[in-house]
Structure formats: structure tokens, C-alpha cells
Symmetry: C2
Subunit: 428 residues, 2 copies
């Protein structure tokens, strides 16, 4: 149990530097870290971690070991552009428990910018919300990790356990960033990821597969349209077949711990489509991208096999050779469950209650989380726990500023109790 | 009536130079004249017409007059790249009727080349078919025009009427090429266009509209997919609304002369689609291209107004501001009817019967034809009449070589009777 006086000092320190934290987070939002374009944002994180006296490790995440891992997501980009940053705090004498504070710096595309109220990279605060692509998902979380540690220093304390502050890439598409950090040797007694989770703790989540489906048609002139097979129509037919599989998987939700009460845990998304090349020709080919979800306990390979069987039936009903070709193109990831009863969760529950004045709630989320890397492959409890947000992946994404303050305080208190703290003279 | 001896000489001349005609046509097919890339193919046509002693006119088809014309199709390409070629034969003394021999040099995209048995630009002849993109639609037709005239010369004859040999662009997307030629002043007493029409004469055809439809969605994270509106799904819903309009227009076919017996005269094609940008986001926008058909007698503007009303209903049912935005992006063209009883048709019927030994059949085609330009705006009978083809706009497009020979002969005989011929010493 954390000393109440220490807790108060830490809380005060978070408050006192909160304007700096918001300014830093806004600066991070203003650096558009779209896939393969994360370097500029990583520069800011790296500079700050370095200034804090952490040992910096920045590396291109590609490796044969990574590519061979069962949780590796086949990439469709040049891996030489993908760099993780990890800053490590080594206490003078390591007496406390170790910790990973993880966050992903990559953000998803904005969608049409004209649909936004202001530039997605503006990072303005309006009515208590900070706007911007990545504000919630999850640059506010990276800021919370960084400023939780800075608050300890500002409070005249330093952790007595080893801490790795991870700023990873690829969380939005493959999960290879966190996986690469684990394979590089970064392990600890627990992990915290401040994803935007409405001030709650993630108890269970789904795995995710990404794959491209190419549907072949029989092109003709539109004057004889009925003799052709429109690949765009055929693509929608295949989507319909996948929707039926999705419905079947949702019907199975009672068989899965923590999923029975989730309204629609399995979502298949058709996020991208491209087909045809000429308005007056029947399209020869249409490709769409699928994001499919799977329950924890089902391996990605098992889910993929079941999807492939569905697509084989689609192909057979279309009656063309190679009518449907599917290729993994990103996430190939199992879901995970945070088992109840861990010490880490108990410590977080205490920190949360102290800050929020209410019990820590846990819930099941139907989205992908890097937590699977630490839980499934790192054997450590992973606490995915972060601020209130709205419209992540949407238009006018925003994060609740007051929630960010509290989450930061809660994480700072968690670090202090989990790793232990000791007084220190020099501040970060 | 053409003198049988002259007819025989012309027929023989076509046969004697037919290998040259095939070689020339293959060379034209080998020059991929995709939209805005027609220059290389036009060079060949121009050189040949020039060598034949015709007066050459080559010009960029853009003009304020063209853009203001009711039959102009809004272009989506740089118009400065679009050049027509016309070669004009001026007889020493103009005694016969004048004629336009029109053909379009532009071809549609190939679709995925790996679906083809050989390169679409190979132009090989296998089992009596010449393969290649544009072989049927309509480089064999341009070859027929050119070599019909060359056959007259080879037979020691020259036409006594003015003849314009037109090699136009944009027939596959706007129809602006033929329209520009008309507006430049090229008119005549009749027009022949050897489109691939199965050795038949087109009696009536549809008009065509091209337009882009952009459908807006509400992007979100897939973990809350139900709160978002998938623009790709919404696009399919809008396509469904357009399909209902298509069905309604098809039900009206009995009201239109020459269309009652056509199985499905009105085809709406969705040839191109593009939507979304990230598999794990609900797509914010999806755009698809529509090719819609309309009956002759309905103006493009009337059809467009009816389509817009349908799209307004789609937008209302989607419940979003600007949920559906449609923009004309090519053809804005009325259909036409070749009125029965013209002298031109009578002359062609005689030529056809002499060559094929059977009556000239006419039919209704549900595809766009530049014939509308000459009929609606030039006030001349337009005979769209050409060889047997397969898979135009499709994979392994091909044209029947023997049919090309006969069509060439038939056109040569038509020219001889329509324009009249006189003996000449020097051959082209």
C-alpha cells in the first residue's frame, strides 16, 4: 500500500505539470505518425525519454525471428521504415518489481479531412476535449506514461524497479511493434498500456485477422452485360458469405468467457475496396480488405482456416477458377484474457480508486490490443487501461482532458506502488 | 446499281491486298491507344492516309463550342492530349455523293493482363480470329475503311464524291471525338462506321450517361462498428436503388420503337469502385462509377434528372447530409434511330447482299455509338455496320478475319455506288 502522503505528492506533481503534459501531447499529435511515417513522432518521444535520463534503444523492427513468430502479421509495407523506441530506467539498485509502460505511436488514416471540424493534426482543446487523429488512440496514453514517470521525479522520488517505456509502431495493422520489443528481450513483471478504454481495465479482447480478398469477374461490354460476371457484384456476394460466418461466430459467444454479455463481439469489417477500371466494361477484378475478429482461445491459424473454408464455398458458387483469392495482409493475432486475481490488477485497482473515488471496472472489448503480445507470449499480466475518448478511427477523434489527468495520476501511483519509490535529489 | 464487272474488280482488289490489310490492322492493334495515349496509333493512320494522297487534318479536339454542345461529355482527362485525324479525298470534279468513313482509334483498358491467353497487344491470328484489345472495337473497322478505299485505287478507280476518313478519339468514354469532327465542319450525305456489329446494321441504340457517385459514411473504430455507417455498404445500397430505376426503365421498353424485342435494353453498369483506406476503420467514403443507358428520344438531361431524383431518395434514406453526391464524368449522350428508307441504307443493302449472299439485317443494340453525333446533330443517315467479334471490352477480344474481309468488300462496293467511281491511272 502506497503511503498517503507520497500519493498526495505524486498527485500534486501530476497536476502541476499537467499543462506541460498537454502541450507535449499536442506536439505529438501535430506530428502525423501514419504508418511508415512515425519517425518524426518517435524523435519527440526519444528526445524526451533521453532528457529524462533513460537509456535509449531505437531499432528497425524487422528480423527473421519476428517473421517466424506465430503472432507475426504479414506486412505490406517496407519494414525498413518501421522503428520502435524504448527508454529504460535502471534504478541504482533494483529492489522493486519491473514494469513495461507501453504505447503505440502509429495512428490510422484520417479519412476525408474535409469531414473534420478542423485539421486532424491541429490538436486543439475545445470544451475539455483534445481533438486530433491519435489524440485518444493513443498519444494521450504515451503522454500519460511519460508524465507519470516525470511526476515521480517532480515529487522527489525515483522508482526502485526497472522500467521500460515503449513507444512502438504497427499496433494499428500488425501488432509487430510490441512483438518485436518482446523478442528484443524487453520483459517485466507487468505491463501497462493506456489505450483509450473509458477509464476501465480490459478483461478480455478479440484477436484480429486482416486479409485481402480478390474476386475475379468475367469482363464484357455492357451491351451484353448479362454474359459477364461483375467482379464488384461478386465481391459483395463474397462479403455476404463472410457476414454469415460473422453471424455464426457471434452466435457462439456464450461459449467464450467474458463474451456472453458483449452485444456483438465479432465484427467483420470491409474497410477498403477497389475494383474495375472502366465504367463501360464489366469489372474483371475487385479487391477488398477484411478485418475479422476471433475469440481468445482460438488461434489465428484456426480462424484463418475456417475463413478459408467459407471463401472456398464462395468461389465454388461463383463457378470460376480462382474466383476468390484471399491473402493475409496484416494482423494474424489471437485474442487474450487478463486472468483475474493478479497482484498487478490489485495494485491498479487501489490506484484507480484513490484517484477516481470509484471501483475499477473491467470489461470485454471487441478490438485488437497489443496486450496479447505480453499476455500470450511474455507471460506477464497486461493492464490495458486508459482515458475516455470519442470517435477513435473516426472523424473528430478526441480525448477527455480531465480523464487523461486522472489516468496519468493513477498510472503514476501504480508505478510508485508496483515498482516502489525512493527519495531522490535531482529531478528529471 | 454498280456495274457487276466493276464490283468484281473491287472484290478482287480487296482480296489481293487483304494480307496487307491484316498486317496493317495488326500493327494498329500493337499500338495501345488507351485513352490519352492514342498518338502513336494516330501516327500510323495519318501516315497511311497521307500516303494515299488524302488531305490531312490533325487537331486537338478541345474547343469552347465543343464544351457548350448539348452532346458534350464532361471530360476527366487533360483535353490537350486528345487528337483527331481526318483525311479528306477531294475528287478532281465533285460529281458524286459525299461520305464520312468514321472509326474510333481509342480502346478500353485490358483488365488484368494475366487473364489473357496472350498479350492484349500481340494481335496474333489464331484459328481465323485476330486477337487483341481493340482488334474488334474497332481497329479492324478502321482498317476496313482505309483498305476499302485502297481497293478502289487498286482496281483502277477513284471516287467521284468527297470522302472524309475519320480516325477519332474518345468514342469509349465521351463521344467528344466524333462530335468535335462534326463541329469542325466535316459533314457529308452519309456516314459509315464499321463498329463490330456481327455483319449487321444498327437500327437503333441507347444513349449513355457516365457519372461518379460518392457515398459518405460515418467512420468509427470497428470495436463500435454498429455506431458507424460503412460507406462501402451504403454504396451498395445506392447501387440497389439505381438497379430499381434500371428495372423500371426496362419495363418501359414497349414504349420505344425497336426496343420491345430487346431482352434487357437498359443496362446500368458499376464499372469502378473505390472506398475506404484502412481495414480496421469503418470507411468514410466510397465512390463508384455508373454507366447508365437511356432510350433514344429521351435527352441526356431528362435521364440525368430522373437519376438524380433516385439518388436524392437514396441520400434521404441514408440520413446524412451530402450522403450521396453524383457528378457527370463522361458520356452525356442521347441514343438515336436510323430511320428506315434512306438511299444510303438501300445502297448498303445491295452491297451487303452481293458480298454475303444474304439480306442485310438490322438490329437494336444496347451500347453507345458515335452514330448519334451524325444522326442527331449532323442530319445525315449513319450506317453502323461492321464485322463479327467476340469479347469486346473483355478478355481475349478478337475479330473474325473472314468477316473483316467481307465487310471491307461491302464497304468498298458501297463507296463505289454511293460516291460513284471513275477510272484512274495512278494507284494509291
Amino acid at each position: 500500500m502506497l503511503d498517503p502522503e507520497i500519493a498526495q505528492r505524486i498527485t500534486k506533481a501530476v497536476d502541476e505539470q499537467f499543462d506541460d503534459q498537454l502541450a507535449w501531447t499536442a506536439e505529438l499529435v501535430r506530428r502525423p505518425s501514419l504508418r511508415t511515417g512515425e519517425a518524426d513522432a518517435q524523435d519527440l518521444v526519444q528526445a524526451t525519454l533521453s532528457e529524462m535520463g533513460l537509456e535509449i534503444d531505437r531499432w528497425v523492427i524487422d528480423s527473421p525471428e519476428l517473421r517466424a513468430h506465430e503472432g507475426y502479421g504479414p506486412t505490406t509495407v517496407d519494414p525498413s521504415t518501421l522503428e520502435n523506441v524504448v527508454g529504460t530506467w535502471h534504478p541504482p539498485v533494483e529492489r522493486g518489481r519491473s514494469l513495461i509502460l507501453n504505447g503505440h505511436v502509429d495512428v490510422v488514416p484520417t479519412g476525408p479531412e474535409e469531414y473534420w471540424s478542423r485539421s486532424p493534426w491541429d490538436a486543439r482543446i475545445v470544451d475539455g476535449w483534445m481533438y486530433g487523429r491519435g489524440s485518444g488512440d493513443m498519444k494521450a496514453g504515451i503522454g500519460a506514461n511519460v508524465f507519470a514517470l516525470r511526476a515521480l521525479t517532480a515529487a522527489g522520488l525515483r522508482p526502485t524497479g526497472r522500467i521500460h517505456v515503449e513507444s512502438v509502431v504497427e499496433e494499428e495493422c500488425t501488432g509487430n511493434g510490441s512483438l518485436a520489443a518482446l523478442l528484443r528481450g524487453y520483459t517485466a513483471d507487468a505491463c501497462v498500456i493506456p489505450e483509450p478504454e473509458d477509464d476501465k481495465l480490459v478483461r478480455a479482447n478479440v484477436g484480429v485477422l486482416w486479409f485481402d480478398v480478390t474476386v475475379r469477374g468475367v469482363p464484357t461490354h455492357l451491351r451484353v452485360m448479362s454474359s459477364g460476371q461483375n467482379a464488384i457484384d461478386a465481391a459483395y456476394q463474397v462479403m455476404g458469405d463472410l457476414r454469415r460466418l460473422e453471424a455464426e461466430w457471434n452466435r457462439r459467444k456464450d461459449e467464450h468467457r467474458y463474451f456472453a454479455d458483449t452485444e456483438h463481439p465479432i465484427n467483420f469489417g470491409f474497410g477498403v475496396i477497389q475494383g474495375g477500371e472502366w465504367p463501360s466494361s464489366v469489372p474483371a477484378r475487385c479487391t477488398f480488405t477484411v478485418r475479422a475478429a476471433l475469440y481468445p482461445g482460438t488461434s489465428a491459424a484456426e480462424a484463418w482456416a475456417e475463413i478459408q473454408r467459407t471463401l472456398e464455398e464462395s468461389a465454388a458458387s461463383l463457378g470460376l477458377p480462382d474466383a476468390v483469392v484471399a491473402t493475409p495482409s496484416g494482423f494474424f493475432a489471437e485474442g487474450y484474457v487478463l486472468e483475474e486475481g493478479s497482484d498487478a490488477e490489485a495494485v491498479l485497482a487501489r490506484s484507480h480508486e484513490r484517484v477516481f473515488g470509484s471501483e475499477l471496472e473491467s470489461f470485454t472489448t471487441p478490438g485488437y490490443l497489443d496486450g496479447r503480445v505480453f499476455t500470450l507470449y511474455g507471460g506477464m499480466p497486461c493492464l490495458v487501461y486508459g482515458p475516455v475518448s470519442e470517435a477513435i478511427h473516426g472523424i473528430d477523434e478526441r480525448v477527455d482532458v480531465e480523464s487523461v489527468r486522472r489516468i496519468t495520476t493513477s498510472i503514476a501511483l501504480f508505478v510508485a506502488e508496483w515498482c516502489g519509490v525512493e527519495p531522490v535529489e535531482d529531478a528529471w
